[in-house]
Amino acid sequence: MKTSVAALLSGIVFGLGLAISEMINPARVIGFLDIAGQWDLTLALVMGSALVFTVVGFPLITKKAHPILAEKFTLPTKKTLDTPLISGAVLFGIGWGLAGLCPGPAIAGLASLNPDIFLFVAAMVAGQFIGLKIEKTIA
């Protein structure tokens, strides 16, 4: 219960951040990716200011014996630079560049009730299921 409340609050802060920074707007994202156009640096400011917090905070937090509401930290364990990592990043990059939407802004954008956002999220969910199938096949 406590973990759900904590995650809900964190989600709200994240969603507010996506809206205030306007990363929820595909035009902003494409404006950043379009380096041959009138470049919009907003996305770099968003990522940079988020990183100031995480770069400083993560090492301090993981020094603790355990998180406040859990017995242990659950961090990614994979270390190898393998084919799925790179090919996944390539496919994601193409999709991101085509629509200007990545998972966070797409999900938060559902709050707009824009039918196009619902269409994108439905396709993204279908894509994740396809991805899971591919992972099972190559494993």
Binding site: L8, I12, F14, F53, K79, I86, L98, I134
Partner: protein, 141 residues
Amino acid sequence: MLEPNIAGGLIGGSLIGISSLMMLLLLGRITGISGILTGVITWNKQDGLPWRAAFIGGLILGAVLYQFIFDRALPIEMQASGPLLILAGLLVGIGTRLGSGCTSGHGVCGIARRSPRSIVSTATFMAVAVITVFVTRHLLS
């Protein structure tokens, strides 16, 4: 073309960073939205379904809250539609699954963990997205 949103970018980015710190400090988890989403859509009760669903709900609620606080609609200008938008969604879904993460998990959290996988992933999807935009908006149009 939009004028850069400097104040919004700095404040919004800080909120995203703070949210990631909250998740790590409280739950001991990385705020990777594509991964959190996978746990919800597969309805995996063995792997923290309640907190995952709560976070996803919070994301939407945060965007709802924005509309009340600032008394304006969410700024959303779609850049693709129809089959192209569906293709983009499929690619984002498949890619984030195979590549174990997206802009949040690899970009904001992974780089802070100095994870080589995340640094390589972020550099790759950024470069590919820039090339995709260049091809679709300058070469093909």
